[in-house]
């Protein structure tokens, strides 16, 4: 007599639908040493934790500079040092420029009107392309 066996359905453990991004970086030996030292100082055991904290700090710095806040340290004696980080300066909203009056000759205004009302602007020069891509 054949025994009927019930097939037991095996449930796979729930797999997170969110994909994790792998991050790989080529570090110079000095940078590698810095990372190891920082991990020790901060008692971080994994590169993932290190990167996660670094991103959090960077994200905070970007958001502060976007608001126009300066980032500085203050020593016990009150001496302050302002963080200068070129990439952060790019997001700082130091954009409000004051207004000035310029004198124009009649011929300059004609020339300006012709340039401004041109249907197409000039193509960028090589130097301009480099300037905007550097």
């Amino acid at each position: 007599m054949a025994l009927k066996t019930r097939k037991k359905r095996i449930e796979h453990p729930a797999v997170s639908q969110r994909r994790k991004t792998k991050f790989q970086a080529d570090l110079a030996p000095a940078e590698d040493r810095s990372v190891r030292l920082l991990k020790e100082e901060l008692q971080l055991s994994s590169n993932t934790d290190f990167l996660s904290d670094a991103v959090a700090l960077f994200r905070w710095a970007v958001s502060e500079r976007k608001l126009g806040h300066r980032i500085m340290s203050e020593a016990a004696n009150g001496e302050r040092k302002v963080l200068l980080f070129p990439r952060l300066e790019r997001v700082a909203p130091d954009l409000v420029l004051p207004r000035v009056d310029i004198k124009w000759t009649g011929r300059e205004l004609e020339s300006l009107a012709e340039l401004v009302s041109a249907g197409e602007a000039n193509r960028p020069t090589e130097a301009l392309i480099r300037a905007m891509r550097d």
Binding site: L84, F85, P86, E89, R90, D94, L95, L97, P98, R99, V100, D101, I102, W104, T105, G106, R107, E108, L109, E110, S111, L112, A113, E114, L115, V116, S117, A118, E120, A121, N122, R123, P124, T125, A127, L128, I129, R130, A131, M132, R133, D134
Partner: protein, 172 residues
């Protein structure tokens, strides 16, 4: 040498700055901070070495300007937008001569153009103009500035750069 470009600050060291031009030296030493902070008639940005972050090696000054629509000759008015024409003035740009030839001028104008684009995106602006010394006209022309005709033969040459040209140079 790692270069930082940022807004001029009160305690930046400008006294030893020497670009070889008295007017440009004097503006930075005597007027740039006052004009920026008190009079609000120009914002100066300075180039500094990260290792000596107070010593100014180069600078440029930006301001907004506009041309009233009714100032244009009548035959051109129809082709223009029905508003005053907003412009950004690249008022000054100079590099300390001890640091000439190291790409500081290129770094400064790159930053000036980036800032101008951001300003144009935020407040609307059609072009940048500058009054170039005659011996610097070719340098500005390399970046696409076009001479505006009609300037006196002996004074500076007013030059024009269209924002559309700058946008076209951005990486895609």
């Amino acid at each position: 040498m790692a270069i930082v470009i940022r807004r001029l600050e009160e305690h930046d060291e400008v006294e030893n700055f020497d670009c070889g031009d008295d007017a440009l030296n004097n503006y930075l030493k005597r007027h740039a901070w006052t004009n920026q902070q008190k009079s609000s008639i120009g914002v100066s940005y300075v180039a500094l070495d990260e290792d000596a972050p107070r010593t100014v090696l180069g600078y440029f000054t930006l301001a907004m300007a506009s041309v009233p629509r009714d100032a244009f000759p009548k035959k051109y008015v129809r082709g223009l937008p029905p508003y005053d024409l907003p412009l950004i003035l690249l008022a000054r740009l100079a590099v300390d001569r001890r640091f000439a030839g190291r790409g500081l001028g290129h770094a400064l104008i790159s930053e000036a153009l980036r800032i101008s684009l951001r300003v144009a995106d935020e407040v609307g602006c059609r072009s940048i103009i500058t009054d170039a010394y005659r011996d610097r006209v070719n340098w500005y022309a390399r970046y696409g500035f076009v001479p505006i005709e009609g300037a006196a033969a002996t004074g500076p040459q007013r030059m024009f750069l269209d924002m559309r040209t700058i946008r076209a140079a951005l990486p895609r």
